[in-house]
């Protein structure tokens, strides 16, 4: 049998294996006898519970406490989240105060609890009503008293008092404290508590005074005592340990009391390894090293157990289970959180059978990472707990789980608190990174009401607050896109107005010049054969008039120059409009990216086709250029008629795509809106040029083959047509339609939409 308990404390019946702290019991007895109220304080893992179980209790039973009665009834419990109920269960347990109690309307436990709740004398009343013999004492052991400060009224109250200790804790402590006022009644109270919670005791009136009176701070073990604690149990069960291993262990554990439970675990594992190796000779270094030494044994052991879970689902249940059982969020010191099976089922979403299967690998007697130990049935009300806090510090996987959980709880608390403030009109909706973070969290964690209640009240309000934030953001994005569109449209309108104005101006200037030139000529011819005498004078006058005409001509030229100037301005404007269209596309892309990343339901307004298809074309240019061989395009020439009104010059872009570009300056002011392709041009090249045009902001209305296959077979022409229906292609249509089908029926020659169509050669 393995003489080391591993992670759990020593039990009372294992006192014969408990060594090293023999000297400390006397002081505890003296304090308990004097005050009836002893608080055993020490760091986590220093062995408080073991010291009480295997040091104090055996000494009491041996009658070593002076002045006390001979026999001891012991009620042993942990306060958990129901301290008075816990005390009642412990007192009502068979053979503590009662044996073979007759059945009745109420269970013994209920009656004891009712009596405890009647007044602060409740514990004394219970003792009196049990009518124990005159030679008996009652010892009430409250193990892990600090649980009282962890399981207080979370979620039971709103407002500023929500996190204060409740009436339940106060009433419970009053029951215990009352014992001190009645030294003639043979009731004794022993608390064990982690020293880092000492300050919290001040929340309860009267408790600090009681602790001051009867506090026992567990001393660290000396080197000699540590040696005894390691070596003696081995000898007790008839085995031995090599001096080398003993020295190594004593050094590894060091002065850190926190390490004692980890030492116990390593010893337990070393023993198991030694048994596995055939129990040859003394326990020795190789076995200790095989289990990973103190530094790694626990982590490895736990990982081994975790490794026995076979399915993803079990592993998921396992993660949720351990997250529920540990708590770093309420207290960064990291505490365990005993939880009932019923609650665990709800939190993990797993039925008891699944939970039991997952827990089984951690409950094996050789492991006992989880309580209750193997063999004990799991009922809905059974409380599950990790056996020691050191597991939280040493098992890397659990550490990262509980860190995740703490992060998650922190997020929820922040959210719940802001939601509360928002409801009170003291905080704004979340946006930006706050909102994105919260949405990612919700997506990843899928928080539930039950889960949330363990950390803070107000789950529903918090979720509603989050939804409200999402709705506000969608509305905001939609509004921004609409605003961009409105600006773009307004700019375009301006361009159109200016363009009309410019056309009118040019027409006027041309007429003016022509009229003046003709007038002058007629005047000169008509008068040339007139009177000689008047010739000189007329010549003089003519010269004057000529000068005036020249001046007017100069004016006309200036007017033309100014018209050109405004044309340039118009061009600049148009280019800015197109730039904005591109930017709007990018904005849309950003929004879409957000949609994709955060799984937001997209706002419908984002799908506006006029913005979307330009962006779509860009994507398709890129994709198609990459998917077709560049060499295919090197033999293809694009005749590109750059128009005075065109803003985006596609020359460079087409060259970059691999085409030979024949750039020409067109004279007519019509916009580029059509392409013609020769018989040997590959379909992809045609579509590539089409996409590029759409992407650059042109409305493409025609994609036509050359009417004669012999004409310019390897040429794509880009120009303007007035003979095709004015409904532009979208990139999507182009991609989805075979090239031949894209051809549109041309209007008869005479019904051209615009005057002065510039037909490409040969068309």
């Amino acid at each position: 049998m393995n003489p080391f308990p591993g992670l759990r404390p020593f039990l009372e019946e294992e006192a014969y294996l408990f060594f090293g702290r023999e000297q400390q019991v006397g002081a505890m007895l003296a304090k308990l006898a004097r005050t009836h109220f002893l608080t055993v304080v020490g760091t986590s893992g220093c062995g408080k519970s073991s010291l009480v179980n295997c040091g104090l209790l055996p000494a009491l039973h041996r009658g070593e406490m002076k002045g006390a009665r001979a026999k001891w009834r012991v009620a042993h419990f942990r306060p958990g989240n129901d301290p008075i109920g816990g005390m009642a269960r412990a007192l009502a347990a068979e053979d503590v105060l009662y044996s073979n109690a007759p059945p009745g309307v109420f269970s013994l436990e209920e009656i004891v609890e009712s009596t405890l709740r009647m007044s602060r004398l409740g514990l004394l009343d219970v003792w009196e009503q049990a009518h124990r013999g005159p030679d008996e004492n009652l010892l009430v052991v409250v193990d892990q008293f600090e649980e009282l400060f962890r399981f207080h009224s979370i979620g039971t109250a709103d407002g500023p008092r929500a996190y204060e200790l409740g009436d339940e804790a106060t009433a419970f402590v009053n029951l215990l404290l009352e014992v001190r006022s009645h030294p003639t009644i043979p009731i004794y109270v022993v608390l064990t508590m982690r020293s880092d919670f000492l300050g919290d005791t001040a929340q309860l009136a009267g408790l600090p005074e009681a602790i001051n009176e009867g506090q026992y701070l567990v001393p660290r073990m000396t080197r000699e005592e540590r040696k005894r604690a390691i070596e003696m149990p081995v000898g007790e069960v008839g085995a031995s340990m090599s001096p080398v291993l003993l020295t190594r262990l004593v050094n590894d554990v060091g002065d850190n009391a926190d390490q004692l439970s980890i030492l116990q675990h390593a010893l337990n594992r070393t023993w198991a390894q030694w048994e596995k190796d055939g129990r040859n000779g003394a326990l020795d270094l190789p076995q200790y090293q095989a289990i990973g030494t103190m530094a790694l044994a626990l982590d490895r052991h736990a990982e081994k157990a975790y490794g026995e879970l076979t399915t993803d689902r079990d592993r998921e249940i396992c993660a949720k289970l351990f997250k529920a059982l540990t708590d770093k969020a309420t207290d960064s010191r990291g505490i365990r959180r005993p939880t009932t099976v019923a609650t665990l089922c709800a939190l993990t979403g797993a039925p008891v059978a699944d939970l039991e299967r997952v827990m089984a690998v951690f409950r094996k007697p050789s492991r006992s990472f989880l309580m209750p130990p193997a063999g004990e049935e799991l009922r809905p009300q059974t409380v599950v707990d990790i056996s020691h806090e050191s597991l939280m510090r040493v098992w890397e996987r659990l550490r990262s789980w509980s860190d995740d959980e703490a992060q998650s709880a922190l997020m929820y608390r922040r959210l719940a608190e802001t939601a509360r403030l928002h409801a009170a009109d003291k905080a704004d909706l979340w946006r930006g990174r706050d909102l994105e973070g919260a949405l990612l969290w919700r997506e990843a964690v899928h928080p539930t009401q039950l889960w949330a209640e363990r950390y803070a009240p107000g789950f529903e309000a918090a979720m509603a607050f989050l939804d409200k934030g999402v709705a506000a953001r969608e509305a905001e994005v939609a509004e921004r896109v609409a605003a961009e569109r409105r600006t773009a449209e307004a700019e375009q309108e301006k361009v159109q107005t200016r363009r009309k104005y410019r056309r009118a101006l040019i027409g006027l200037a041309v007429v003016l010049v022509a009229v003046m030139a003709v007038g002058l000529e007629l005047f000169l011819i008509g008068r040339a054969n007139a009177k000689e005498a008047e010739a000189a004078r007329r010549e003089q006058a003519a010269t004057k008039q000529q000068e005036a005409a020249a001046a007017q001509q100069a004016k006309a030229t200036a007017a033309i120059a100014s018209a050109k100037e405004s044309q340039k301005e118009a061009n600049a404007l148009q280019s800015s409009v197109k730039k904005q269209i591109v930017e709007t596309g990018e904005l849309y892309a950003g929004a879409r990216e957000a949609v994709r990343q955060y799984s937001i339901v997209p706002a419908r307004s984002l799908d506006r086709p006029e913005v979307a298809h330009r962006f779509d074309a860009l994507t398709r240019v890129t994709a198609l250029a990459q998917s077709t061989p560049r060499a295919e395009r090197s033999g293809i020439t694009v005749e590109y008629f750059f128009k005075p009104t065109d803003t985006a010059d596609l020359g460079a872009a087409l060259t970059e795509l691999g085409f030979e570009v024949d750039r020409k300056e067109a004279r007519n002011p019509n916009v580029t809106n059509a392409i013609w392709y020769g018989s040997e041009v590959p379909e992809e090249s045609v579509k590539l040029v089409a996409y590029a045009l759409i992407r650059a902001g042109y409305d493409l209305v025609g994609i036509q083959p050359q009417s004669d296959p012999k004409v310019k077979p390897k040429v794509i022409q880009v120009g303007h047509t007035g003979r095709l229906a004015e409904e532009p292609f979208t990139a999507e249509t182009i991609a989805a339609t075979p090239l031949a089908d894209l051809r549109r029926v041309e209007a008869p020659e005479g019904k051209a939409v615009f005057r002065g169509v510039e037909e490409p050669a040969g068309n």
Binding site: E110, I111, M118
Partner: protein
């Protein structure tokens, strides 16, 4: 007096009809629960009996009457049907008659009849006089619409716990009564007699559970809680009754909540909660009645009159007069009540010593103890209770004992001999602190007794010629003590 049976349960057959065929009726459950809870308190099996009433008719059996002389307590299960039944009248009258022959229905200020109200009786219904003037144990709850619903352990966890709590309280009270009744030797508990009475004011429905919890704790701790009878419903009578009751109490406790409370008939149209508070304020002004008011933080009422009362309690000094207003939880209220009672009790202890000999505490340093002997002798000769400091033992206990001496003496003499100036100065400070904290007691006289050796400090004190300085630097003399005797009124 000795009784062979502890209690008899009187009830109406209809109140024991099971809801389901297989289950127990309410009275059967109540009977079993009472037995279960009373037995451990008595330390033996409680003998509680009732007529099974299997026939369901009203035939009254004389066998019951014959048992009454040997029965200590009658538990009467009240319901509308019960008060109309023959059993009710016959059993109550029969028990009362038998009781007259066995020491009377009343034991001290308690009754041997326990009224358990299963279903409340309408105001018009005839209730036997002996039950009328009794508060009783309400085994029902009323919801917001004032509809009563009986407590039955079968109605879910909350009802089960509440039922258990009430049976437990009833069992406790029965046990206390039975102890007094059965054991003639035992004098009425000395503790109960010296403990002050508490007026726990009637409250509105929403604070009733809190009131019951406070009441049960106070009674368990041995305090007499008033009112012990229902208050009159007429305003003038109610005021007179409350004044009378409060006059018997050293502390009044008022629980205020969202409800305004019942309004008695009368011109004032004030609720019983407000009236009791006003009467208590008056008593506080006249004779320093201590008061505790519980008003949970954030309490708001939809009723305008109640909201006005709540506002007044928070802000109006006359409504809050002499009261400790507790906004915390129930346990906070209990702690405040117990703290108030503790100070009342310790003050009472002080009062009783008034007639006792005057007590003088002579503060001296350990090295000067011998030098005090002539002074001590002179004081004792005048039958003054002289005390000197404790010097040995656990420092904390020594300090506590000496403070206790100082707190409970009529005069303190600082015996300033070999000790130094700092010693004298700090002793004087300590006396002053204690004197400042002494309210409601006779004043504490302080004298400084200057003994040899002479020092500059003592010289200075003498030349200042202050009152309360006794010059014995030249040796002890009776005459120098005259100011002390004068102050204490001893010759």
């Amino acid at each position: 007096m000795s009784f062979s049976r502890h209690a008899f349960i009187s009830y109406a057959h209809i109140d024991n009809q099971p809801l389901l065929d297989a289950s127990d009726g309410w009275v059967t459950t109540f009977h079993r629960a009472l037995g279960q809870l009373l037995s451990p308190k008595l330390g033996c099996v409680a003998d509680i009996w009732r007529d099974e009433r299997l026939t369901g008719n009203d035939i009254f059996s004389d066998e019951i009457l014959q048992q009454f002389p040997s029965t200590a307590v009658l538990v009467s299960v009240l319901s509308p049907r019960y008060v109309k039944s023959d059993w009710c009248e016959k059993e109550i009258i029969g028990f009362c008659e038998a009781a007259e022959r066995t020491g009377g229905v009343a034991v001290g200020n308690k009754s041997r009849i326990f009224k358990v109200i299963k279903t409340p009786i309408d105001a018009g219904e005839e209730v036997p006089p002996v039950l009328r003037d009794m508060l009783g144990y309400a085994f029902y709850e009323t919801d917001e619409d004032h509809v009563p619903r009986e407590l039955d352990p079968a109605f879910g966890d909350a009802a089960r716990q509440e039922f258990l709590r009430k049976v437990n309280k009833l069992a406790w009270d029965m046990k206390t009564l039975l102890d007094e009744l059965m054991d003639e030797e035992a004098a009425p508990q000395a503790e109960t007699q010296t403990k002050p009475a508490v007026y726990l004011a009637e409250c509105a429905r929403d604070r009733r559970v809190a009131r019951e919890l406070i009441e049960q704790e106070l009674e368990r701790l041995g305090y007499l809680v008033l009112p012990a009878h229902p208050l009159p419903t007429d305003e003038a009578e109610l005021v007179a009754e409350v004044e009378k009751l409060i006059a018997q109490c050293s502390l009044s406790v008022h629980l205020v909540g969202t409800g305004y409370g019942a309004v008695p008939d009368g011109a004032g149209e004030k609720s019983v909660v407000v009236l009791q508070n006003e009467i208590a304020v008056e008593a506080s002004r006249k004779r320093a009645l201590k008061r505790v008011i519980s008003l949970p933080a954030g309490t708001e009422s939809a009723q305008a009159a109640q909201q006005a009362f709540i506002d007044a309690l928070h802000t109006d000094p006359s409504a809050q007069f002499a009261a400790d207003l507790i906004t915390g939880s129930l346990e906070d209220v209990k702690s405040a009540i117990l703290a108030a009672l503790k100070s009342i009790e310790s003050a009472q202890k002080g009062e009783t010593s008034e007639a006792a000999p005057k007590r003088v505490y002579v503060i001296c340093d350990a090295q000067d103890r011998k030098a005090t002997v002539p002074l001590l002798k002179a004081l004792k000769a005048r039958s003054i209770d002289v005390r000197t400091p404790v010097f040995t033992g656990d420092p904390a206990q020594v300090r506590e004992a000496n403070q206790e001496l100082l707190a409970n003496c009529d005069a303190a003499i600082i015996f300033y001999a070999a000790a130094d100036e700092a010693w004298k100065f700090q002793q004087h400070n300590e006396v002053q602190r204690v004197r400042a904290g002494r309210t409601g007691k006779a004043p504490l006289h302080e004298l400084t007794y200057l003994a040899a050796p002479m020092t500059d400090d003592k010289d200075l004190l003498l030349s200042m010629g202050e009152a309360g300085v006794i010059d014995a630097t030249g040796g002890f003399s009776e005459e120098a003590l005259a100011p002390l005797f004068q102050a204490l009124g001893v010759s």
